[in-house]
């Protein structure tokens, strides 16, 4: 069977590999000649993957049995709709339903309207001054984001607890709001600025296939958004991921899992009601375990995550069963099956990522594949290209190095070993701390603390509630 992938990153490389392993013949429509995808694909067509007609042309050429859209921007651009109209069997959300990822404002409004568990207080703005006034008057700490999905950029989470630093923080927040607008991080979105309540806790992702009614969850994964070790440094698209041996992450409980899954289910239903279209494709919830709600929604992806995909796909045993189900429009009674292994993925990025990607572009990278293989790790290509047998960085996250083992720590060590065999004259960096005992313990502590306070609030009927008293206005309960 012919399996066509639309996309160009490490995520697509992992999907391609899984598809090949599951007996499909892989074809790719991509806007870059990703060396990993090239190696996995029978044919790789370079095309503008935001242009539905162009991708459809490739598809007519390839005549695939199924098309899997990996890239969110393709979904936002309506590529899945175009392909479906032309009669192809597509796994990927429609433009309308992918709004759940594209616009965090749409997502927050939907959750609010349907009174869903895990929602947060928020407001969107088109006017900088109004946004700033809202921040000034907001009785607590906020996260400031571009309303549109901006590819792991532009989010600032500013805890504002010390009164004596209020002025400094307020200054920074204002500059950030202006930056979002001036740098057009929300592109064409009407309300480019999103201000939402800040929460605290551990983060995790639950990725699911859905036919719009039934849902097949994959195992839970944790991403690491900070660029540098110790959870310090700027926001990135994700610097690595971990997963435990089971479906539930080591520091989470079955209850956390069930609640998260339930949220995804309700969102699938709500999207259908709201847009009139079934959600058909991949829907991933990015959550934070907080004292307010337990599982709390940070954002949704309308596709698989990156670096989450590389973490789970290599261990997925019945990809073909899921794909078959999706092709028939029904994934009822399908369970994703994984090997009982712990997995670690670490991203290797060139200096310059994430804030000055231009500077990290075009640098030679040498990989000793034999040594990498000896370490038991596997390399997935991200933002990289090949010329005359030499690999070069593309400026964004270059490689994703994956290993699995009986424990997260062991897998992490394997990955470290592999990374020591990746060399460049340009500085490359990755997070040594991902998957270490120390970081795992920190996550456990954070999760325990959140659950403790959550239980106290639960016992008092305070789940999801915020009660403020504002001088001159009085008590506001939300």
């Amino acid at each position: 069977m012919k399996f066509m992938i639309v996309g160009s990153g490490g995520r697509e490389h992992a999907i391609a590999e899984t598809a090949t392993r599951s007996g499909y013949e892989v074809y790719t429509a991509s806007d870059a000649r990703n060396p990993g995808l090239l190696a996995m694909s029978k044919e790789l067509h370079v095309v503008d993957i935001l242009d539905g007609a162009a991708v459809a042309k490739v598809a007519h050429n390839v005549q695939p049995d199924v098309i899997f859209i990996g890239s969110e921007e393709s979904l936002f651009a309506g590529v899945s709709d175009t392909l479906r109209k032309e009669g192809f069997n597509v796994i990927g959300a429609s433009q309308k339903t992918a709004e759940i990822e594209k616009s965090k404002g749409f997502m927050r409004k939907l959750m609010e309207k349907y009174g869903m568990h895990g929602r947060l207080r928020f407001k969107t703005f088109s006017n900088i001054n109004e946004a700033i006034r809202y921040i000034d008057e907001y009785p607590g700490s906020v996260a400031i984001k571009p309303t549109r999905q901006a590819g792991g950029k532009g989010v600032k989470v500013i805890a504002d607890i010390q009164a004596y630093l209020k002025e400094e923080k307020s200054h920074a927040k204002k500059r950030h709001v202006s930056d979002i607008v001036e740098q057009k991080l929300s592109k064409d979105l009407e309300d480019p600025i999103l201000i939402e309540e800040r929460v605290e806790g551990v983060e995790y992702t639950l990725q699911c296939f859905t036919d719009g009614t039934h849902i097949v969850p994959l195992k839970m994964v944790q991403d690491h958004p900070h660029a540098f070790v110790e959870d310090i440094g700027p926001e990135t698209g994700g610097m690595g991921s971990i997963a435990g041996t089971g479906n539930v992450l080591p520091f989470l409980t079955k209850r956390d899992y069930d609640t998260s899954f339930d949220i995804v289910k309700k969102v699938v239903q709500a999207i259908k009601k709201e847009t009139g279209e079934p959600y058909f494709g991949v829907l991933s919830g990015q959550f934070m375990l907080t004292e307010k709600w337990g599982p709390t929604v940070i954002e949704f992806y309308s596709r698989l995550g990156d670096p989450e995909t590389v973490n789970v796909m290599p261990q997925l045993q019945n990809f073909d069963e899921i794909v078959n189900g999706m092709m028939n429009g029904n994934v009822a009674n399908i369970d994703a099956k994984f090997e009982e292994k712990a997995n670690v993925v670490k991203v290797v990025a060139p200096k310059g990522y994430p804030n000055e990607r231009g500077m990290g572009k075009g640098h030679e990278v040498a990989i000793d594949f034999d040594k990498v293989a000896q370490s038991g790790s596997h390399i997935y290509f991200g933002s990289m290209y090949e010329e005359n047998g030499t690999y070069y960085t593309g400026g964004s996250r270059a490689l994703e190095v994956y290993a699995s083992a009986d424990t997260v720590e062991e897998a992490s060590q394997k990955v470290e070993q592999a990374i020591s065999h990746i060399k460049s004259d340009w500085k490359l960096f990755h997070r040594k701390d991902i998957g270490t005992k120390a970081l795992m313990q920190k996550r456990q502590d954070q999760a325990d603390l959140a659950r403790d306070i959550f239980r106290y609030r639960e016992a008092r009927g305070l789940i999801g509630k915020t009660i403020d008293w504002i001088p001159g206005i009085g008590k506001i309960e939300t």
Binding site: V155, K156, V157, I158, A159, I161, Q162, Y164, L165, E167, E168, H171, A172, R175, H176, D179, P225, H226, A227, F228, V229, E230, D231, I232, G233, P234, E235, K351, G352, Y353, N355, E356, M359, K427, F429, K432, A438
Partner: protein, 415 residues
């Protein structure tokens, strides 16, 4: 003695000078004589220095003159604990000497070689203890001596700031999340585009300053992975077990001895009371010979609360004894207020030797414990009884051998 701190923003929307200012306040207990604060705007490193405490010094008025996305600072018991030029600012806690030549060489090396190599070369020529922050025009570098004598921690704020400091109190004060201790011998290079952690290849056994736990560090700090308050409470329990006495009330000398007194009281069941009120601001009575006069003055600002002690047998707990003069004055004050008996207990082992690593423990001939037994000290300070914490007990409380206890033994690790 000194405290150091620094902040690095990955994003130019931040002006960190006030953040550093509050950090300095949070480590003020490590030195009140001199304060320095340096900020870079990527073009130039600008510095303010002043004498006195952070809040009362000229710094308060001038802080708005400094703006930029990265800054460092220090408080000290003697002038400025660092060296500043227009393109580099260095602050340290420890016992090293920074000469103009050495700093010039470092500035030069930073231009021509990898930061870690430049810093390694610089510190390899230093002798002594140090936790040190080097701010260049666009980087912040933190490094700690191979024995990890002085405390040093690192943390972060959101997606925005990397933070280093002598104690976690300087992370908490700005809402930073603690990550970990900087390891002995480690160099951490913080740049806009990366953080490099270069661990030392020649690992020695650490020798963390043990005096931090009994006296120097703030109780809300966690250093070398141990909560200071936990240790102070354990010390109170140990004193109660090892040096018990029949009494009616437990009184701690504010502020550092309060935790000892609290847990001494909890353990023995003898009620604790507030025995003193202080007039004027709180000053850490850093033990330094030239400061002795001043220290006595400070301690005398303590006024006993009469009803807490009148007609009672008092256990009086303090954190350390140097010459004994201060303690004698306090005991005397309590007797004048009607205390029937005064039993003095000290939450640290006897100090018998100076500190070569920058803590101002007085010279040997100024230390009462060098020549006198506990009974003799009791007689000198006019107390009914007198007792120290045993060093062995302190080590037990800390659970390890990785400490420098030179001021209590006269034996020092080799740096």
């Amino acid at each position: 003695m000194a405290g150091i701190c620094g902040i690095y923003a990955f994003d130019e929307i931040w002006n960190v000078s006030r953040f550093v200012y509050y950090q300095l306040m949070a480590i003020q207990s490590r030195g009140q004589e001199g304060v320095g604060l340096s900020v870079t705007d990527y073009e130039k490193v600008r510095t303010l220095t002043a004498s006195g405490t952070v809040q009362e010094s000229l710094l308060s008025e001038k802080i708005n003159e400094l703006t930029g996305p990265a800054g460092v600072g220090g408080v000290s018991t003697r002038g400025i604990n660092g060296y500043v030029t227009e393109d580099v600012a260095i602050y340290y806690d420890g016992s090293v000497e920074l000469t103009a030549d050495a700093v010039d060489a470092l500035r030069n090396d930073l231009e021509t070689m990898k930061e870690e190599d430049a810093v390694r070369r610089f510190t390899s020529k230093l002798s002594g203890a140090y936790s040190m922050i080097i701010l260049t025009k666009d980087k912040m570098i933190a490094t700690r001596d191979a024995l990890g004598i002085k405390p040093f921690v690192i943390g972060g704020v959101g997606f925005d700031l990397a933070v280093v400091a002598s104690e976690t109190s300087a992370l908490d004060v700005i809402g930073a999340e603690f990550s970990r201790d900087i390891e002995p011998g480690e160099i951490v290079v913080i740049d806009k585009h990366y953080i490099d952690e270069i661990k030392s290849e020649q690992r020695k056994d650490p020798a963390h300053c043990i005096f931090e736990y009994v006296y120097l560090a703030r109780i809300d700090s966690k250093i070398n992975e141990i909560d200071v308050h936990e240790i102070r409470k354990k010390i109170g329990v140990l004193l109660a077990k090892e040096k018990p006495v029949e009494a009616d009330v437990v009184i701690g000398v504010p502020e550092t001895a309060i935790p000892f007194a609290m847990s001494y009281s909890n353990k023995t069941g003898i009620p604790i009371d507030i025995g003193f009120m202080r007039t004027g601001r709180h000053l850490r009575t850093a033990i330094r010979p030239t400061q002795m006069e001043r220290m006595i003055g400070v301690q005398l600002k303590l006024n006993p609360v009469k009803t807490a002690v009148r007609g009672k047998r008092v256990v009086l707990i303090d954190d350390s004894v140097v010459r004994g003069t201060t303690m004698r004055n306090i005991v005397n004050l309590l007797r004048k207020r009607g205390a029937k008996e005064v039993h003095v207990r000290i939450g640290s082992p006897q100090l018998v030797s100076p500190c070569p690593f920058g803590t101002e423990v007085p010279a040997t001939d100024e230390l009462i414990a060098v020549e006198n037994t506990e009974d003799e000290i009791a007689r000198i300070i006019d107390a009914d009884s007198f007792g120290y914490l045993h060093l062995e007990d302190l080590k037990k409380a800390l659970g390890g051998e990785c400490y420098c206890s030179g001021c209590m033994t006269g034996t020092y690790p080799e740096v």
